[in-house]
């Protein structure tokens, strides 16, 4: 059952990512069936769902790391599942990804980690690359830690450094897998503000996998909620509207953080 807080953007010409009929899983195990949704340019789009519902798996399908069992995913106009290596590389040049655990390279300093995409994809002089990488680290509050190794900083700092690396090429689409998890409330709020600045000022489209409700209500323009039981999208729309109007019991329990249907506030 899909409970739509706003109309499905089937004919939305401004979609940066378009997912149609996506069935995902592993071999004989189907995780989600027939997913259909769009991500529009410049919006902050959040993929919600319980643990094991396939949020991160969906994100990995959207960046071409996993092949769908069926269906299509168009990113910036190209079907990422069917693109050849050169085409996929061209698409991925236009997106930035922050993985759940940060995935910083342990043998490089933070500066070297953030500079790496610039070295691979641009012909900028080293001085410019260093300046950009340092500025990105400063943007996430790590300007003073450029020469530290990932092992010398905390998990939250590693996550912020990973975000700096993901956005160093000013991507059109930024994918963030659980960006707020493990961060203290102040850092998490700072990160929310940064995400909003990126979307509003730089017209960046941001796709976030999360279940941090405070953060979602603060920044999300639109969410989809994956339901493990029905293997599909339980709801789609802006989070406040869904919380106030959705009739879907699981959506209500999730967004209002009630323990059971009976405890749901009237």
């Amino acid at each position: 059952m899909t409970d739509s807080g706003m109309s499905r953007a089937d004919d939305d010409g401004d979609a940066v990512i378009r997912v149609r009929g996506l069935t995902m899983g592993f071999d004989d195990f189907v995780l989600m069936r027939d997913l259909n949704f769009d991500v529009r340019r410049g919006e902050i789009f959040v993929i919600l769902g319980g643990s094991g519902s396939g949020k991160s798996t969906l994100l990995k399908h959207m960046i071409g790391l996993y092949q769908p069992l069926a269906g299509h995913i168009w990113v910036a106009g190209a079907d990422i599942a069917e693109a050849d290596d050169a085409r996929r590389e061209a698409i991925l040049r236009r997106v930035g990804v922050m993985y759940q655990m940060g995935a910083l390279f342990g043998s490089m300093t933070l500066l070297e980690n953030v500079r790496l995409p610039l070295e691979v994809h641009t012909d900028l002089p080293r001085e410019a690359m260093d300046a950009i990488a340092r500025a990105r680290l400063q943007l996430v509050g790590l300007g003073a830690f450029a020469d530290f190794m990932p092992s010398e900083i905390s998990g939250g700092m590693q996550k912020r450094a990973a975000i700096a690396r993901a956005m160093v090429l000013d991507p059109e689409v930024l994918f963030l897998d659980e960006p707020s998890a493990g961060l203290d409330p102040i850092t998490s709020a700072d990160l929310d503000r940064l995400i909003q600045r990126l979307a509003r000022t730089l017209d960046m489209t941001i796709v976030i996998v999360s279940h941090e409700l405070a953060s979602i209500f603060a920044i999300a323009d639109r969410v989809i909620m994956l339901d493990k039981e029905s293997q599909g999208i339980a709801a789609e729309g802006d989070p406040a509207t869904l919380r106030d109007t959705s009739n879907h019991p699981w959506v209500q329990r999730f967004l209002r953080r009630t323990d059971s249907d009976e405890e749901r506030p009237a």
Partner: protein, 383 residues
């Protein structure tokens, strides 16, 4: 929007004029592609303008900039610094929100002090650092040897406390599963040894004494040595990688907080397994090497019976046990070094790789050094 298409639609251009006052006018998309092309020329032009300004002001008009990414902001900040270092006062005009947002972290960085101060230069601090590192390494190694000795002593007094299940599992992996590679190497060693010496011996009609050479070389020297090097490459590296990964994943800390001593839980089973399998593998390698030598000698007209009869007459019990004693020590060294390097692992995937490499290199160096020590020792003991 496709950046290439957008770049074609709004190409970046700049215009520098000295009259009526020094002025730099930037228009179009200030993106990576524009910065790649204009980084050097534009900064040179800015420095010229600063000279022309003669400590006056330079106006930078950004009204026509339709897009600015991180690279564009880096260029603007570099221009700002170039003009300021030339003594000119910089005045940005028409700066949009996007440019201001992008430029902000660059300006903030000017006031940021590195969280870690620069290390003092010169040879004296470097020497002190080096001495400190050597001291720390020696301390950690002596501590490990002490703790391991205590653990082995404790296991002898309280054998029921030893994790024999883990020990047998490690022994199977390090010993039984190593048999194919040990067989191959030992067989080839026997073949090569016999073949090379038989060619020389044949000139004197002494092919039969090749059996003496092969047997004594294998039992006293090459069997234990080759076995130890294979054990270091296979099992020492595996011990270091396994414990190192556990250290990185904080599993070692978890053991400590649960009241389990990593020395008893992780190290002792591996060291006992090393002590157990090393002499057995060395003995097995010796036998297979003898078979390799026998097959070569068949080609030189020496029958199996004559060959093995010569081997039994050439070998003494001291040859056998001196080799096995060395194998026991080598097994202890390989397992101990593998575990030590694993426990010394720092943070991150790279640290596990370094520990593994270090375990193999240290083990091989120690094996060769100890082999030399044994040679001198056995000579003086008359073994």
């Amino acid at each position: 929007m496709d950046s290439t298409a957008a770049g074609a639609e709004h190409p970046f251009e700049y215009d520098a004029t000295a009259e009526p006052g020094p002025r730099l006018c930037l228009t179009g998309r200030l993106d990576v592609q524009a910065v790649e092309r204009h980084w050097g020329p534009l900064r040179r032009r800015a420095r010229e303008l600063a000279r022309q300004a003669q400590a006056g002001s330079v106006d930078v008009d950004l009204e026509g900039v339709v897009y600015c990414d991180g690279a564009g902001a880096a260029l603007l900040h570099a221009l700002e610094q170039d003009l300021a270092s030339g003594g000119a006062e910089v005045r940005f005009e028409g700066m949009g929100r996007m440019v201001r947002e992008q430029l902000a972290p660059y300006r903030e960085l000017d006031a940021v002090e590195p969280a870690r101060g620069a290390r003092g230069g010169g040879w004296w601090p470097a020497l002190l650092d080096g001495v400190d590192r050597v001291g720390q390494a020696a301390h950690s190694q002596f501590s490990f040897v002490g703790a391991l000795t205590r653990a082995i002593g404790s296991s002898l007094r309280h054998p029921r406390q030893v994790r024999w299940g883990d020990t047998l599992r490690v022994a199977e992996a390090a010993g039984f599963q190593a048999l194919p590679i040990v067989s191959l190497i030992a067989f080839l060693l026997g073949v090569i040894l016999a073949f090379q010496s038989a060619i020389a011996m044949r000139q004197f009609g002494g092919e039969i004494f090749v059996a003496n050479l092969v047997a004594v070389s294998l039992f006293r020297e090459l069997g234990p040595l080759m076995m130890a090097i294979l054990l270091a490459g296979r099992s020492g590296a595996a011990f270091a990688a396994e414990i190192g990964t556990m250290k990185v994943n904080e599993e070692v800390n978890a053991l400590k907080t649960m009241g389990l001593d990593p020395m008893h839980f992780l190290v002792l089973p591996k060291v006992l397994a090393g002590l157990l399998v090393a002499p057995l593998l060395a003995l097995y390698a010796n036998m297979i090497g003898l078979v390799g030598g026998a097959m070569v000698m068949q080609g030189f007209g020496i029958p199996w019976v004559a060959y093995f009869s010569q081997v039994t007459s050439a070998l003494s019990m001291s040859d056998l046990f001196s080799g096995l004693a060395k194998a026991v020590v080598f097994g202890l060294v390989v397992a101990g070094v593998g575990c030590l390097r694993g426990l010394q692992t720092g943070s991150g995937a790279a640290a596990v790789g370094l520990s593994t490499t270090s375990a193999v290199v240290t083990s091989i160096i120690l094996i060769v050094v100890l082999d030399g020590v044994f040679a001198v020792l056995f000579y003086h003991l008359g073994v």
